[in-house]
Each structure stands twice: as C-alpha cells, then as structure tokens.
Symmetry: C2
Subunit: 327 residues, 2 copies
C-alpha cells in the first residue's frame, strides 16, 4: 500500500514515519511506498523497507491538493497545521492553511472521481473545546472553540464527516490530547510548560512552572499519539459510524501530580530543578482549557493511552533518553 | 440606522422587511434606510417610512461581500442560503453559496477596517443536529449534521463565533425551528407536509400526510421567526457571551397533536381533507430530525415562541388568511 503523511516534518509526523519504517506494514498490509510531505521536504526515516519520497508542498497553494492525491495514496495522514499561537496572531494565514488547506485536500479527493475513497486520518485537537466545561467532557459535548486554531480544526471535523457521509472519502478525525512529554527544546507555546517541567529537569536543566500545581490538564505521550494514528488508519469505519470525530483517551493529572510522578521516578534532586514563576497571562490562557474527558467512544473502539503520568515519563526516558537521565 | 437583509426575497426575509416597514425602527432606533438583497432584486415592502434599496447580488461571487458592506449597514440579517434539498443534490453549489458566500460576507466585514463592527444576525438551523439524540436536546449538545446543508450552517456558526470573539463583527446565530405554518404552495421539501396538512385543509384543499401521526418535531411560526430575528438584532451581546449561537424556542408536537389542534380550531370537516399516504423515503429522512429541544439559554435571553400548536394555526389564520378559512 501507499501511505502519505502530510505534516511529516513535525514531531508527531516524523515519529509516525519512523514507526512505519520499523513496522514495514500498516494493519498487516505491507507498505510499498511512503510519501512524506511538509512545507519543506521532510527527512526520510532510516531503514525503511519501502520506497520513500519526500516532497515540499504548501497545501494552501492552488492545485497542491490535486498534485498530492494524483498518485492515489491508500491512506493519507493529514497532520499539517499552523499551530495555535501563530493561527491566533496571523488570522489570514491560520485560515488559509488550516481551513483552506484541509478543504483543498478533501476537495481534491472528492474530485478524483475514479472511485478513489482513501482512508484519511485528520489530527484535530482538544482545542475544539472551550470553557466552561462539565467536570469530565462527554463525547456528545458541543464544540465552542475559543481560538481560531480550534475553530479551524472544528471546521475540518465537520467537512471530514460530511465528505465521508457522502462517500467521497473515508475519514477519521482524532482529537489529540496535549502531547506530554514533548521532546525537543522549550518553545513559546502556552502549553509548553507541561512538558518542560519533566523534560528539562531529566536533562539536568532548570524548568519554569508558570501556573499553580492545582492546574489540571489532559495528556498523552508521543508514543500514544502515533498509536492513535495507526489505529485510526486501520479501524473499521462502520464501527465508527457517522460521527467520525473522536476525542482520544489520555490521562487527567494536575501539575502537582505530574511533579510527584517525576519525583517517584527520578528523585528529589531532579524535582528541585523546577522553579515556580507564576505568569498571569499563561494562567489566564490555561484556565480556558479542558481538564478531563470521558472519551468512551474512542476507548470502546480500542484507542489506548497511558494509565498514569508515570508511564508518560517512562515513555519519554525510553524513547528519547535511551533509558538515562541526569539524577 | 441602516439595516440590510441578505435573503430578503425568501419567505422569512420578506416578512422581516414588511415588519421593519411597519415598525419604522429597530430596537427603538429609527431606520433611515433598508437594503434588501437577494439573488434577484426583492420586492420592497409597501409603506416603508424609510428609503428602500433592492439589490440583486450573488453572495458567492467574487467581491460581492465587499460591495454589500461598502455602505456600512449597522445591522445585517444574513438569511441567504441554498436550501437543504438542493445543497444535498448540488454539492458544489451548496458549499459555494452556504459556506463560501457566508465567509465572504464575514471576511468583507473583517477587512472593512475602519472600526466597522456591525451586528450580524445569521440564520442557522436545527439541521446542524443529527440523530441519535437525547429526549430533549440541551444547549451544550454536539453538532453532528447529517446533511451538507447542516454542515454548512454549523461551519457558519463556528466562523461567526470566532470572528465575533476576535472583534471583527458582533454576530448572533439563531437556529430556527421548522417554520410552521409556512404560507405559499406545497413544495417538495421533505419537511413540507408539517405545514401542508394545516395550510391546505384550511384553504379547502386536500393535503397528503406521508408519515405516521406519532412523528414528533419542533416548530415555530413565521411570526415567531421574525420576532427571533428582531430580538437577535437588538440583544446585548455581553449577555450572550462567547457562545454566540442559540437554539431558538419552539413547540414540540406530534403530527397527531397538530391534527387535533386543527380539529379544535377548524372542525372535523377540515381535518377530513388530510389524506394518509405513507412515504417510506420521507419517513426515513424525518427519523433523523430533532424532535425536542431544551433551549434554556435562548429562553433566558428573552426569545419567545408559541406555547401550543393551536397558536401556530391561529397565527397563520390571522397573518395569511385575514381571519378566514374554508370550513
């Protein structure tokens, strides 16, 4: 089969490509070719037992959707997006890439015409939800995003469901939790601290915690995110039914619980590298975010995440640090 | 003030224009000018105490949004849409008019730039909801439309909320119930029978009932629809908050209850003009439609509909039949 990853240059996209290279197959079907797409041509994973083509493509540019589907990939993972912060500061760019880009991909599939109905896995986000919330957000809760990014993802979900209902494609939308522990350098994302306070201390560096330890949020590891994508690519569409967008499972923990999990695994000395430095703006932003979900549908459909935040930390140490940390 | 009605050629749009002509004001502010827009220039209401301009404009055509907002109307009622059935049979046209047309209007307002922030009242629909439902659909229920029309309206709602949140416009979206009793001729809309079975017998004509008398649905009169629009145009936006889209109140009745209300008002002879002729296709379509809402937010905000279906019938007899019917 031919697999395409749009947004293969991002953290999750690259991990997905690496996992496909290791597995050599998707849902027990051997992969013959993978096409990796991003705004700049992404790096190919090492040791892939199949052909890899890396393409630079701006999905929001005229005709790029049609060019991407010309080779009729069997499965398309659509992870490409302008991130939350940039979609908020650059209104026009966010809508152009996140809404028009997604629609142009779906339209290209719809217009392909030769009974081409690929499985398309679309990464949505818990950012489609906006406060106030019930204590645990149920699967049938309304989408009232409080960011342009969340709005664009919610619109992508609606298009995916309608184009699937009409038989133009076979879409599954998955709302990713905040990915923790995210590897790499600290970034300016308002959510960055959720990972920073684990990753930096384990690397012997100081991390800043800008919110109170009571702050509760919804997390899954990068390894789980890849697992969600693979499961969404192979799941029986009939079992999903017409409601094609699913809130992914995760673990609901407070920052204090995150820190206690770190202490248990790595000790007091590591925890001491976390410096409390309250930031009013970040606290205000985070207050509007979901804290807990009841993702019953996704769980019933076999999607799995970590059961404790300690697991998230262990996954990080195994997958990113070769089992080692700075005690 | 300058009021614009886009979709003023439709049944509700024309009634709204007539009501503005009668009132001469909106929210106690005198109207100086009304601009009536539709795909063909709509008829002006008689006796308006203000200037009326009638325009033909295709909202989905390049630049038409900008042309419409050039005169900076203070309030814009956006009722224009390809109806449900046509949006389903003509995929491209439905998206072009209902999605791109709405977005081009909102973008034109966003790009106006001179601190122009009009109140925009957008007519959405209970078609944004798709079965299965709880017994009464609460205000925080998810939007999972099962038609392209419902999808396009749901996307319009999301855009309206985001553009309002960002301060580009001051939008209120109202989800209209099925309008009963709809005046005019029987049409091919799957929902047509809800009105046909009342309107036609009152006019001495036979009507066909294609579903069982147990079929339950959510109704409001044309007069209430105009009332919703006027209230949405003048309501305090701060009281509405960031969730800008509201399910309108209505009355939940079965077809049997509709018929009994007709019998009470007009007698057995009129009811005998309803002929039962089950239609499997219509029954299947109607099964996916909402039956009852709990529109608590709209009620708390002062939106009002009929309290019994007898009222809907009386409104029809008063407003459309000069108080007379064929006994």
């Amino acid at each position: 089969m031919h697999v395409m990853i749009i947004g293969a240059g991002g953290m999750v996209g690259a991990k997905l490509a690496a996992r496909l290279a290791t597995d050599g197959q998707l849902g027990e079907k051997p992969i013959e070719k993978a096409t990796l797409v991003d705004i700049a041509a992404p790096a190919a994973p090492s040791g892939a037992p199949f052909a890899v083509e890396a393409l630079a493509s701006d999905l929001s540019a005229q005709g790029s959707g049609a060019a991407l589907v010309a080779a009729r990939p069997d499965v398309i993972f659509h992870l490409a997006a302008i991130v939350s912060g940039e979609a908020e500061t650059d209104f026009e760019k966010g809508y152009r890439v996140n809404l028009d880009g997604t629609r142009s991909l779906f339209d290209a599939v719809q217009q392909a015409g030769d009974q081409y109905v690929p499985r398309i896995v679309f990464t949505s986000s818990i950012g489609v939800f906006g406060a106030p919330f019930p204590e645990a957000i149920p699967d049938d809760f309304q989408l009232t995003p409080l960011t342009s990014y969340g709005t664009q993802k919610a619109i992508g979900e609606l298009l995916l469901a309608d184009y699937t209902r009409r038989g133009f494609m076979d879409g599954i939308g998955i709302r990713l939790p905040t990915i923790s522990v995210r590897p790499g350098k600290p970034n300016k994302a308002a959510s960055g601290f959720f990972s920073n306070i684990i990753r930096e201390p384990l690397a012997g560096k100081e991390a800043i915690l800008p919110v109170s330890e009571e702050t509760r949020h919804w997390h899954a590891s990068p390894r789980s995110a890849v697992g969600f994508l693979l499961h969404a690519a192979t799941i029986d569409g009939d079992a999903v039914g017409p409601r094609r967008n699913l809130t992914m499972p995760g673990i609901s923990v407070t920052v204090g619980e995150q820190i206690e999990a770190l202490r248990k695994i790595a000790g007091d000395n590591v925890v001491k590298r976390i410096r409390h430095e309250p930031d009013e703006m970040i606290m205000r932003i985070v207050k509007g975010w979901p804290q807990r979900f009841a993702p019953d549908r996704a769980v019933a459909l076999g999607f799995q995440a970590e059961k404790s935040f300690e697991e998230n930390i262990r996954v990080h140490i195994e997958d990113e640090l070769d089992g080692q940390f700075v005690a």
